[in-house]
Each structure stands twice: as structure tokens, then as C-alpha cells.
Subunit: 448 residues, 2 copies
């Protein structure tokens, strides 16, 4: 009952290698480069970083943007519906933007002008995060480091950890963990046959293990990147699952980097923070963000919690090194964005944001209904703004291309999140109600 | 005629090792750590990154903040004047903050809401930077990458370059180049006897070479970090000097990373960009910032120019890899800050900012006058908001401590910028006119 059309009719640009679009072998790059060199004159004698050479594909979302643009050119009159990149669409409540506008305007006054803030973030915001987001979870304000978002924090954490680390990631998961790992040199060789990097442990998360890795067969690594609710599967780890993860990390002496960027979408009793689990402060860092919680994807604001109890093997506190990284490689989040973050955590701000999240949940229900009515199995959508739709036996880039071509709807091919994402697409619930309903109509009509 | 007092009277906290304050040997850390381990329970089995262990001291400016705080506690009634950290103090012109306030408020409307921008920055801002800052210098908009500031760009460049690079820095210079180099593993061992890292080439910049390195004796490195106007010396390289640098880089196949964060303070005919030098696009990256130009130290906005002509030894364009780094490790600068950046580059915004820069120049004249009247030799201050004051034969941390103790004025010890900064202090011209005049009075009275 799933979508399938003759491939000849729906061959996309780049479909030749749908698993690794825009993957050119280094030999091709090299020969192109040598031609350029001859033609274009001066080349430096600086060798290209071998780690950068190891990166496969374009980064997923820019790649999808390119395909979107090509599609728009091909069908200039089609109304494209973008359920691809997980970008918020709801206006930000006025109580929050007016706090930012006020802060901006105050910068024109002698009394209100402020320059550099603390590299770790303003104390009032750090306190608000500790007291509101981590109420009763034992997180102290000086364990909170305010940042420009989780993506920057991931790469700063990778700089902190260095090339000698072994890491594990969920499979599928958000690509930035693997890509930043490749850049700092932890990943090892790419293995074409498995679609995996040699030194990275891929922890399969799929329906038959309730989207939680089989820890009994997971080798020890120094670091475990764990995203819950997971992007792309839209599933949150339950309390017993997170307890097992903390226990596993403790027994192995590993550090968990818990990404809770979607925690505000949790609608059941799954933990919203790893620090709800006893003992987690000894083994975990948490990164999180105002992006999806408050529609701050363009405003840029996030945070990391690095507990005082978390220590390297020699007893040195990880927090002290992370502090140093923030001071050296970062210079504080925008003071205006921080004023907005503070307003998000006020009682009225928080309540207004919950209404936006409800709206996205209703959108997710529409998406789930559309794909379910096509006879497809849909996961996620309840604890995250993503539906994870299964197309057994299909190439996810092929499904992506087919839906784009036939319904003018942009999704994300599951394979972009790791080999375990093959056979799935991720569909975002961010967007207007009208778009969701129209997308639903178009998708359902594909069967007619 | 320079300041000098019996050391017994002015021994500061941490003065025991004034050259390397807060430098603890790894053995001390280790033994402390083992005690902690026994006392505090769980340690992970994750080894501390050896590169992080190699970092000496605290990062300079946080270290100074700590000393400031200690001083304030010791003298609760003293009015401290902060001429240390180079932080802007003048309110931002209203035309710029109102653009940011408008952008913030627009985020509450359906029509004005925007989420993720391009990771490289909004096209209108990239165009404005290319057209206004780089007018007639041949920089194209898609060679401009908007960021949250130069400090972040330096560490992203280091991630791009990787651990295998050899680097050269001016001595003295802004500490982030060396510190980020240590973090990614380029620096090698620290040599106590020289105060230098083994694998870093320190290019001495001092009065007797007109603050420009002796290139004839400078070994080839892959990368040359070159800050002009230089922080801390406040001196800008002249056109013939920059021409020699470009020629040197070209002959050696090196990449120059030119930091022009203070270019807007240049008051003579020194180039404001390395791209004023013919051929520079084949050998240079430029990083720059709105921080000191527009008072955006807290707003956070900067940019890097990576020319299409700049290529690795295999002919691969550096710009393509930098683009990938921006997409993977960064997620775009705040949309509100970017709206402010655009207003800075409007005709009215630019003109208003020039008045702030004039104000700081006048401040610098007051500082220069004060130290000169003490019989000291003062450099800089004409092309940058920093005066570089020479105390021949003195320890710069000792001078820093003495001025703090006797005049309640915070400066920056030159040694914090590299061994070539020993014997100098940096004095910032950022601050109110009243503060400058009061600091000048206090300093002059030290001789009475």
C-alpha cells in the first residue's frame, strides 16, 4: 500500500547514487583540482585537512535546500510545501519579542548600554534556566552555559573532547554529531559497505527495540551522544530506558552528551532532562536550546549543562575545561537574544510558548493521520514535532524525490540521519495549519 | 622616570609567579585530582584532552576579571576605572538599535517571522559588507561569511585547518590565536625558558622593527595569523609592509589569516583590509567584526572573507571547506544582530558610528598624554583604540598590579599577549571621557 512509481518516470537529478547524493570520489576531486591548478594559477602549499576530505555528501539540510531550489525552478508554478528542515514557523509571543526590542533600544542609552557579557551567559538567564527548566533537578546556575544554540555547542564539545575519543551515536540521529566527529578526527575511515565510519559506534534505534539501543551488545565508548526526544524518529526515551543508559555509562565510565532540544514537546511522562535520573550528574552533559521551544531558530540561543560532579579519569572536572572552551572559542550569546530567553522563562512567556507547542502537536496529528491513511506505519509525533514514516524496502532518497515530484512536498530522507534511517522519511510538523491540511490532501490523493 | 615601588609594599595576590599567574604544574593538578577522586566518588574513564592540559594560565581576560573582583573586595570604596578589556562603552546610534528592535518585534507577526537564516548569513548583509566595507576591493558577496564574531571564527578556522598545520603569530598578539592552536593540537610543547610553544613561530613586533616582523628570518608556516591594526600594540601595518607580507605568503605557499577587527580606527593611509593589496585574494582570509566598529561586543556580529581564489595545495578551494564548517559547526548569526549590522552599513548608520570612533580617538589622546607626561614611551592609539605603554625592564604583571593598587585603574599586562609583550601594558581608550580624565589625573599624580 505504499507509494511506488516506475523509476523511469521519476528519476531525479542526482538519483544515480540516491544513497550518497553528490558523493564524488577523492580521485575525481583530485583530477578536477589538478586541472584547476593548471588553469587558475596560484595554489598555496597548505594541505587540505584530511578530516574535511572524509566528510561525505553535502551537509544534509543544505543539500535538501539545493534540491528544493532545483524543484522550484523545474515547477515554477507549483506551491511547494516545506516539511523538511525542522524550522519553526509560528510568530514568537509578543511578551518575548518586546523584551528583545527593549533590550535593543536600551543599547542606545547610557544607562542601558552593555558590551561583552560573561562568556558563560548572563547570570540572570543562567539562574532562570536552572530554576525553571531544571526545577527540582539539582542543577546549579553556574553549571549552565548559555550559547548560540546546540549546533555550536556540539562542535565546541568536540573541540573539548579532541581527536582521541571514541563515540557512540543513535542510528538514526541528527547528523551534526557524526559530522563534527569526522571534523575533529575521531571517526576513522568510512566504510562503503555499511555506510558507517569505522571508529563510531552506531546504536540502532528502530521499532523492534522501541527506539532504544540494545545496550547489552553496545561496546563501550568514551562518549555517547544521545538525543531524546530523538531527531529524526520523534521518540523520547522513557524513564526506565534513561535509567539503563545512565547505569550503562556509569559502569563503562562513559560521558553521555544528552541533547534535549525537543524536550518541551514531550507530552507523556518521559523525562524532559537526563538530570531527572539519579546519578546522571556524574556521567552526563545536557545540551538544549530555545530554538524549537520558543521559535528561536533565527534568534540563536541555547545552553549546555556541565555538572560539577562530571570528572575525567584523572578527577579533573570537565566543567572547568568546558568553561575554558567557552572563554576561548566563544564570546557569549547575543545580549538581545539573552533578554528574549529570560522572557521565555517568565510565567507569561512560558505559558504563551506552550500554546505554540500545542499547535505544532495538532499539526503532527494531521501528518500522522495522512500517512496512516495511506497504510503506512508512522512513529513519533507525540513527543516531538517530527513524524517518522516507514517505507519498508524503499530507498529513502527515492521516497523523498517521489513525494517532492508528485506532491510538491519537501520531507527529509531518513538515510540522511544514518544507515538506520534507510526506509524512512522524516516529516516536520512545523508549518501553518493550512500547509498541513493541504499537504495531507495532496498525500492522500496520491493513492487515488 | 617610570613607575617603580618597593616590591614588598606592592606584592599582589598571585604575584609569586607574575609571569605565569595561576599556573599550576600538571603534577599538582594530578595530586589534587587524585585526592578528589578518593573523596568525591565516581570519575569517568574518559581521559582529559591532552591539548586542554597544555593550555597555560587562565584565559587572559577572565583572569583579569578575577583580579578586578579581588581588588574591588579589598577596596570596596575605591572607584575602579576599567581600561583593561577592550570593551566598547558608547551607546549604539538609535538608527541601528531601532532596526534591531523592529526586527525583533516583526518576529511576533506572521509576515515578519523568520526562522533559520542561511548559515553563511543573510544575502542582503553579505552584499552590504561586500559593497560597503570592501568597495572596489573585488570581494564578492558569496565570499563573505557572517558570524557571531571574530573569536568564534578563529576557532572555526582552527577546526577547518586541523592539528597538522604549522602557524605563525605576531608577538605580542591577541591570545585567541595561540590558545585555539593549542586546543586543536598544533602548538606542541610549552617551553618554560622562552615562554613559547615549540611548534608556533612567534614573529616579534616591537619598536625597533616598526612593529612589523622581520620576514627575512621568519620560517615558513602553513598559516600566518596577522592582526592589523594589531591588538595589543595598536599599530597598523603600512601598505608596503602588507605588500611584503602578501609576497612572503605567496612565495611560501602560506595562508594569511588577517584580522582586521580594528580597521575602522585607522586614521592614516594604512590599508583597512588585506584585500587592498594586489594578489591577496590568492593567499589570505580576512576576519573582522562589528564589535569595535559598532559597539556590538554584546550584540555579537562579525564576518570572514574567504576568497574563491584561495586554494589548498591540491587545488581544492578553501572556501568550500569553510562553508562546510559554517554549516556543520554554526547555524547563522542572530537575525536581530544581522538587522543591526545592515543598519550599521547604511549611510546614516555609518556616519553615526564614525562619531563614536572619533570619541574613542580623543580618549586615546588623553591616555597617551598621561603616560607620555610620566616620561614613558607610548605606541599605538592613532590607528587603534589601544595605547601600548613601554616600561623597560619591568614585569608587565607587576606594572599591572602596581597601577591597579595605586591608581585603581585596570590595564592589561603585555605578557598576556605573548613573551614579546613583556615590559609593556595595554591601555584601552574605551570608556567615558570622565573616566579617561580621572584616570589621567590619577596616573599623573603617581609621580607627585
Amino acid at each position: 500500500m505504499y507509494l511506488h512509481l516506475p523509476s523511469s518516470r521519476f528519476r531525479m537529478p542526482h538519483a544515480a547514487s540516491s544513497r550518497h547524493p553528490r558523493l564524488y570520489s577523492s580521485r575525481v576531486i583530485c583530477s578536477v583540482a589538478l586541472e584547476h591548478k593548471a588553469r587558475l594559477g596560484h595554489c598555496t602549499k597548505v594541505p587540505r585537512n584530511v578530516n574535511m576530505e572524509s566528510l561525505k555528501n553535502g551537509y544534509l539540510f543544505p543539500e535538501i535546500s539545493i534540491r528544493e531550489a532545483e524543484h522550484a525552478e523545474k515547477y515554477p508554478h507549483a506551491k511547494l510545501i516545506k516539511l523538511g528542515i525542522g524550522d519553526t514557523t509560528r510568530p514568537i509571543p509578543h511578551i518575548i519579542t518586546s523584551a528583545m526590542a527593549q533590550k535593543a533600544l536600551a543599547l542606545s542609552t547610557d544607562a542601558g548600554y552593555t558590551g561583552y557579557g560573561d562568556e558563560q551567559g548572563n547570570k540572570d538567564l543562567r539562574e532562570a534556566i536552572a530554576n525553571v527548566v531544571y526545577k527540582d533537578k539539582g542543577v546549579e546556575w553556574d553549571e549552565v552555559f548559555v550559547s548560540d544554540g546546540a549546533q555550536g555547542d556540539i562542535s565546541r564539545l568536540q573541540m573539548l573532547l579532541g581527536s582521541g575519543m571514541t563515540i557512540a551515536v543513535q542510528d538514526p540521529t541528527f547528523p551534526a554529531y557524526v559530522d563534527s566527529s569526522i571534523i575533529v578526527g575521531q571517526a576513522g575511515k568510512f566504510q562503503e559497505e555499511t555506510g558507517k565510519f569505522q571508529n563510531i559506534v552506531y546504536m540502532r534505534c528502530c521499532p523492534w527495540n522501541d527506539f532504544f539501543p540494545d545496550l547489552a551488545t553496545t561496546p563501550r565508548t568514551d562518549v555517547i551522544f544521545f538525543c531524546s526526544p530523538n531527531n529524526p524518529t520523534g521518540t523520547a526515551a522513557s524513564r526506565p530506558q534513561l535509567e539503563r543508559l545512565v547505569e550503562f555509562a556509569k559502569a563503562n565510565g562513559s560521558i553521555i552528551v544528552h541533547d534535549s532540544a525537543y524536550a518541551s514537546y514531550i507530552s507523556d511522562d518521559s523525562p524532559r532532562s537526563i538530570f531527572e535520573i539519579p546519578g546522571a550528574k556524574e556521567v552526563a552533559i545536557e545540551i538544549s536550546s530555545f530554538s524549537k521551544f520558543a521559535g528561536f531558530t533565527g534568534v540563536r540561543l541555547g545552553w549546555a549543562v556541565v555538572p560539577k560532579e562530571l570528572k575525567y579519569s584523572n578527577g579533573f572536572p570537565v566543567r572547568k575545561d568546558f568553561n575554558r572552551i567557552m572563554c576561548t572559542c566563544f564570546n557569549g550569546a547575543s545580549s538581545i537574544s539573552q533578554a528574549g530567553g529570560l522572557a521565555c522563562l517568565s510565567a507569561d512567556g512560558y505559558q504563551a510558548l506552550c500554546r505554540s507547542i500545542d499547535y505544532y502537536h495538532e499539526n503532527a496529528d494531521i501528518i500522522i493521520d495522512a500517512f496512516t491513511s495511506l497504510g503506512l506505519k508512522v512513529y513519533g509525533g507525540k513527543n516531538a514535532p517530527y513524524a517518522w514514516v516507514q517505507f519498508p524496502g524503499r530507498s529513502s532518497w527515492e521516497v523523498f524525490n517521489e513525494i517532492l515530484e508528485r506532491a510538491h512536498v519537501v520531507t527529509v530522507p531518513g538515510a540522511g540521519f544514518g544507515p538506520g534511517g534507510e526506509g524512512y522519511i522524516r516529516v516536520s510538523a512545523f508549518g501553518s495549519r493550512e500547509c498541513m491540511l493541504e499537504a495531507s490532501r495532496r498525500l492522500k490523493s496520491l493513492l487515488k
